[in-house]
């Protein structure tokens, strides 16, 4: 079964499903700014997943609304959030030590490009007039035990974002383990590309559109 093309909520749900299934005893997870934050909405209450935000908190709750808004309690995207029971606050050096030291189980990031070897490009378009701004992207990319990317498979011009080699400036080398997209889920890394799932497209057609005809691996769907 090929299934239908996934929207961003479907992708987030698939990531939430895999985090839960592959970490039955709970997991410490960082969700990058933007679409990855949608993953939180799909985690069951009893998943045991604890969210980390790199600006100094574990057990972050959902976005704050109305009276809950506290300017001293924001996530990495500077959006007001809430605190769950069992939360802990710490300073920036401790927070990034936690990340860099490999204590997070999963980190989900957006990307401009991911290479089949797992290289990540998600901080800079390379445009000459762009002001470079990296934030915590490079620390996140190399920190978590497993780095997963959530993105559309093609950009607005139709160019693949899963590529043999990144042309955008890199965020990290060989750091991505898995890529969740609207058209399929892929394993990347030293073993090369593996198609895990496809959605709304024939696998061979997908490989052709990606320009990665030799990319045939195990398929779940």
């Amino acid at each position: 079964m090929i299934g239908r093309i996934r929207d961003k909520n479907d992708i987030a749900a698939a990531i939430a499903r895999d985090i839960t299934a592959e970490h039955p005893d709970g997991a410490y997870v960082n969700l990058g700014i933007g679409q990855p934050t949608l993953v939180a909405d799909h985690l069951p209450d009893d998943s045991g997943v604890v969210l980390h935000t790199e600006n100094g908190m574990l057990n972050m709750g959902p976005a704050a609304h109305g009276d809950e808004v506290d300017p001293d309690l924001v996530n990495a995207g500077k959006v007001p959030v809430t605190e769950l029971p069992g939360a802990a606050y710490f300073h920036h050096a401790d927070s990034f030590a936690m990340m860099r030291g490999g204590h997070l189980d999963v980190c989900v990031l957006g990307a401009f490009q991911v290479s089949t070897a797992g290289d990540l490009a998600n901080w800079h378009t390379g445009a000459p007039d762009a002001i470079p701004a990296v934030g915590g992207a490079m620390d996140l990319a190399i920190g978590a035990k497993r780095v997963w990317v959530m993105m559309t498979l093609f950009d607005k011009q139709g160019a693949p974002k899963l590529v043999p080699e990144c042309t955008y400036p890199l965020t990290g080398l060989g750091c991505v383990e898995r890529v969740y997209t609207d058209l399929g889920t892929f394993a990347v890394g030293p073993g090369g590309l593996q198609v895990l799932e496809v959605h709304g497209i024939d696998p061979d057609e997908l490989a052709r559109r990606l320009g990665l005809l030799d990319a045939v691996g195990e398929r779940r769907t």
């Binding site: 300017p71 001293d72 309690l73 605190e83 920036h92 050096a93 860099r100 002001i131 701004a133 080398l173």
Partner: protein, 225 residues
Amino acid sequence: MTARICDGYDEAVAGTADGSTVLVGGFGMAGMPVDLIDALIRQGAADLTIVSNNAGNGDTGLAALLATGRVRKVICSFPRQADSWVFDDLYRSGRIELEVVPQGNLAERMRAAGAGIGAFYSPTAVGTPLAEGKEVREIDGRTYLLEYPIHGDLALIKAHTADRMGNLVYRRTARNFGPVMATAARTVAVQVDRVVETGALDPENVITPGIYVDRVVAAEQERAA
């Protein structure tokens, strides 16, 4: 020297020399020491290097300081934001220098300055454009870059409560860079919501011990009370 409780923000930033490196706490507006920044603008020191996570939002605080033209260089992780027009304009017109540092390296480099570490090997940014010019070393099968400390002449920090010895506690994610910057600067000025008597803070819960704090200012309504 133990901490001094100051009468106002101006006293807390007095004597800042031209050419100083100033560490400015905060992550966006959480923990941003706006009143101390305003005092630094009034104080007038120029040719400054600012170290902060961002490079100003809107037209107030750090953005207002940049707008004075007295900042030569910004060292930060994320200058570009929806409302960073002051910085953007200075940068695009070549009137300000920028050193972009990954957020974790930024924090760790200041931690190293405060902890007397000469340099350290970080795995962050290996193989990226931000590795350019940095010494590379393989240790135990992994590649690292050599990173050096960032020392401040002055740190401007916002905390929640101080006691009269300068012991500090923060509030929620407004803690962020404060405790790290407090260790890394020669003079540390802190604005707090309130100052309590020594002994009122639980010693188990002090986040920044007073040894790191030089000058403390309570919010205006608190001082008037």
